[in-house]
Symmetry: C5
Subunit: 355 residues, 5 copies
């Protein structure tokens, strides 16, 4: 898990700043470049073979969304950067896939980098993919580590011309994309919430060593989510308060809405953390309770039968002169005495509420 929090940069250390090296696993087979160009009246959609095909769109007055899946071909990023005038350090940020979510206003464009979360393969782990978004005056470039994202409903909306999207500018497109990412966090949190409930249920009814393992995993999951989500607050706030001319006033209310969602998500993450934080203590208490039960059983058995065994042992001794042994009713009297001792001890333990 600790490895999820920081990626191997070893092979990069020592290079000059702005050196473009892809940090992170290669998640995509090949780089896929999709272009969606639209205004209220028309829509052009195409998959580009080379990054150069996307360059002419920079000058067109229509809104262009260039989406790149796969970051491992560094030259593509380099060419993109030099054509769209992106700062080398920014390109480095795109390629370092363990970037902290942040927003930077570079004047001619706004750069946003954040995490897209999706459920892991066997659904018991959240995975994060880094998404970079560059908002220019009439274009949005998004860069992702691999294909498959939460943007399909947005593509649909553009294609079907639903809602404001085709009428609004690039800033609204950027907002819609951010909103899609943030909205998706709710789904992730729902999943986590269900896992928390399951674990609580287990804790209440039948705590097992596996429960401890689940708690530990939930804890680490929350640490991971927290690290991905907390910086969003500052990021969205930065966008909302930015005085950049790239963001129209009318988009402000929408950004405030995303901001509210972000706060709500952070609140929920914190509440979850609170809920998980005491679980180990409760688990420990349950185990202690169980041990108490075990000990009681042992104590009752041992405390009743050990004295009785001793009594039987006495009359098993081979002394020549043991008067009781010759009594006619000795055996039966002793059995009665033993029964009495047993009953007294049972009563004693009942009084102590151990039985």
């Amino acid at each position: 898990m600790a490895r999820r929090l920081i990626k191997k940069r070893s092979h990069k250390t020592g290079l000059p700043p702005g050196s473009l090296v892809h940090v992170g696993e290669r998640k995509a087979e090949r780089v896929k470049i999709s272009i969606l160009d639209y205004d209220e009246a028309q829509l052009e959609e195409k998959e580009a073979k080379t990054i150069e095909e996307s360059f002419p769109f920079k000058e067109k007055p229509t809104v262009t969304w260039i989406n790149i899946d796969g970051l491992h071909e560094v030259e593509i990023i380099e060419k993109l950067g030099s054509h769209f005038g992106l700062h080398p350090l920014l390109l480095e940020d795109i390629l370092n896939t363990d970037q902290r979510p942040k927003m930077e206003d570079a004047g001619a464009y706004i750069f946003v980098v954040l995490k897209m979360l999706y459920p892991g393969e066997n659904k018991d782990r959240v995975e994060a993919e880094q998404v970079s978004l560059i908002l220019g005056s009439n274009f949005v470039i998004t860069l992702q580590e691999r294909e498959g994202d939460v943007f399909n409903p947005v593509r649909d909306r553009i294609r079907r011309n639903k809602g404001r999207i085709r009428k609004a500018g690039a800033d609204y497109l950027a907002y819609v994309l951010l909103d899609a990412i943030v909205d998706n966090y709710f789904l992730i949190l729902e999943n986590v919430g269900e896992k928390i409930e399951d674990t609580e249920q287990q804790l209440a009814t039948n705590p097992a060593p596996e429960t401890l393992q689940y708690i530990r995993e939930l804890k680490n999951e929350m640490i991971f989510l927290r690290k991905s989500i907390w910086p969003l607050r500052e990021l969205i706030n930065g966008l909302e308060r930015s005085e950049s001319t790239l963001i129209h006033e009318s988009t402000g209310a929408y950004l405030r809405d995303v901001y509210d969602h972000t706060i709500q998500i952070i609140d929920t993450v914190e509440s979850y953390r609170d809920m998980i934080s005491g679980m180990v203590d409760i688990y420990l208490s349950s185990i202690s309770n169980k041990m108490n039960e075990v000990m009681k059983v042992l104590t009752i058995f041992a405390s009743i039968f050990i004295p009785l065994t001793f009594v039987a042992g006495i009359y098993g001794m081979n002394f020549e002169f043991m008067p009781e042994l010759t009594w006619r009713w000795g055996y039966f009297i002793l059995l009665a005495v033993m029964a009495l001792i047993g009953i007294l001890l049972v009563v004693y333990f009942k009084r102590k509420r151990w039985l």
Copy 2:
């Protein structure tokens, strides 16, 4: 419990922003629209069949309170929004019933969303209902998830013309409604306080596995209350400091009073959290104490009788030449020796204060 903190939004993800979909369970059978229109001299009260019936009141100079119970009929909310000029994102907030309490000053109206708490069905859980409040120049619209609320005393006061309410404007009505909601939190906290005391009592006298369960539930309850109540501070403060012309200066002192109450409620929630936070440790200590008792009983029984049984075992051996066995007083001497060993061990345990 985790499910109480976040509501299923799954079916909503991917819709364009401002899409009106009711998020949350449907709590009311049908939507009920009540209108209360008054000034110092007159009072009109009616239940509207359609939302359109409420529209004419917007223009009347009297104060109008439109209360809507039930949010599942989205068209009603839509019509209301378009007639009263409410922003689509705001309507979305009304329908997302897991909204974080907040206040928004939209110029022509002030929008407030917060939680009304009430005791759950079997009284051992707090339930929350979302209340949205829109304050316009001469109207207040409140929207709730279901019928039944804490506003009845307010309705009474309006009807009977008690206090300032009929003389004051819509902002005072809004304050009175907020005050009713906040005042109700004290009752909820009293209930929780009693549960805490009961659990403390149990912890002190007779901690059982159920106690652990209660503690866990109290903890979750506090997490839930905290999430519902903390944002109120900012909300009320925002209202108090708002420079909106919708809030008259004279209402300021009243809002400050609600603010004080909010702080006091938050203080109490934090104190309760503090009280609960150490309970599991104390429970664990109690269990350990109990186990100690069990162990002592076992140890005393075993440590006294096991050596004695061994001695008896020796004289139960069948060696042909065991001189003691033929002694005239052998048996009685041995009994005496055993009694002595027993007494010495009892003294030893007394010294250790285990007896």
Copy 3:
């Protein structure tokens, strides 16, 4: 304990704001109104039968201190309020005896509400009484829940004309009263400090189940103290920084002094909390240590005698052909072997440092 943090407001919910209802237990038999009117030259002291007797003092240029013990007769408070021009919400605050300490500058007067702490009946609990103080241009009104307070030394100083008090104005009197209340907190903290030391002592020498109970009570005590004392910081700071003309510049240094005391008290409360916070863990460790001791005794006894008993058991068997039984020294050899086994086990446990 939880009940100490919040008082029953149930019978008040739903009343219009500003409704005067006494919230809290009735602590005084009857309302006692004492008036102390003085300037440098003269002193008048009297006990008023009705609140109206105090009204003429409002206009006199001398400093007047009106002290009211007992809050249950609401009309008295009402009359007082209307004559001295106090805001209805402020009167409500006086009567809600679980008010959070706060200060309000109302222009014509400054209103301060805080807690006077005194040791509970059997000295093992701190009790709080709410004190309200209204500072006007030439009068100070104090309202308490019951007779008996920390103001007697102040009364003495006024009567005997000691120090600056008779020369200074009403603001200095208000300061002196606040100082008396805050100074008293030091005494309360000394008491708590002694209890902490006792508990630590107990924890170090002989932790018993009662110790756990003490720790729990100390914890709750600190929660209670914290809730009463923390808001003082803001309160005194507010007074010091207030730009009210009611507080003369020369009183500023004195208020700063009270502020320093407040900070010191808060520091001490936090230090105490820190000290108490780890106590349960230490208790738990002590209990575990004790259990270890118990277990060792059991293990030593059982591990030594159980194998020996087994050996004795072997030679207690009734097989017809057991050669050892017929040996001349069989019995003595076996005793020697048993002694050897016993000694070896003792040595083993000594090595393990269990003995």
Copy 4:
């Protein structure tokens, strides 16, 4: 320990503000007044019999350092105060030896009160002595509870005219004295650090009940240090940012240096707290580990020999018809069977890794 955090003020409560009463133990036999008067050219050093002897130095242009050891003779402080024009509340602060470290700029002089730490008698406790420092235009007055301080190197430097000290003004002297006090904290922290290391060592190799006691003491020590040291940050910062003409610009860099040291000391205290905070848990885990060992020994012994004893018990029964007893090799077969059972159980426990 709790008593170290707050001193008995009981006998002071109720006195008018500014009443001079010495709060704290009397630590010095008699009051010792030393005067050191110097400029670059000359040096006068004398021990004054009465405080009046120091008064003429106030007017001299040379830098004068008046040091007073022993605070119990209140008249001395009173005379000093009235001659040097010190505020009565400030004199009170000097005498209350549990004052919170603070700095006050009174215009004509700057008043600083802080703690001088020194190792306790048997070196296992840090003790604190209150030092007050008054910086005037050409004099510094220091007041301590008893003789013996960390200022001797400063006195030496003045006498030997080493460094800047004789060339610089009173503010530089004040800085040098503060620096000496703060530098001494490093020594105290070194000592504490060594104790922490010793305790960690013990915890890792051989945790005993005493270890718990050490941890508890370290914890309390840190609470004490924290309370003494934290306010220094604000104090030194206040001096550095003060716009008082008493502090020359050139002294600013030196104060910033003390400030850096203070931050470093606070950082170290916090790191120490962090290190200590988890120790009890680790101790508890060690104890649990030990108990596990004890339990395993018991379980192995009991689980091997109890079944064997049972088997021996069977053949110790006196039934008339027990065919095995008459078999020729019955005894030896049984011994073999017993050995086999024993071996199997040993193998079983080996598999469980308990052996």
Copy 5:
């Protein structure tokens, strides 16, 4: 470990401020002075025998990087200080090798002191070396405790004229050096992250007493890292916001990049702390689980065989009149009864899920 947090200053206490004494271990054999002087066109590299050789470079317009390995020869530092006009307190900071990372803008130069981290000898401990950096108008001086650093790639880049470095000024060189130090932290964190994963793995599969030791060490490691890394935030922020003319505007973006890295490193340290913080609890729970297992085995063995032994004991008694003993099938009936008892107990424990 505590010793790593603070260095022996004992021999320094009492010296006048600005006294140059090397605080810390001597880590280098001899002092090594390397000079690298370059501009875009030319490069001069030499190792100086005396510090005086470096002085002429101060006046040259080219960028000069003077690196000094070894701080124990105080005169070298003194001469350097007086030639380059460094404040004595600053020289003191260079020599106190437990300095808190900080940045100071002295007008003519900027002084930065921070920690270079490298893996300890046997790789299981992070070691810190103090690096001081002085940025002048056309020179950078770096001072380290010993040879060997993370600057080699920078030297390479200068020699091979790679990237911007030869074209840019001294401020860019300073940035590149800081960046090299900060980048190296990622490697250190990767190592720590791997240790955390190993420990987690151990905790999940086979917690042993050593695991506890690892956890404790990880905790202390994080305290150490935190103390070294946290102040960086402020330091880099200070550089970025500094209005010094020594830092060109174009370097700002690069500093912001280092700042982002610093935040990310701090985030990771905090996440690691979070992950480690709960580990002891989980360890404790695992131990409790194991003890439960041990107890169950003991209880099952004891509870089955102790009653059976008692029964056998009864029929081992030597009473003359025990009718069962003479029954023909007595022995076999008894064996059957014993088997039945045993089976019933096994069933009982199965039901309890202990088997």
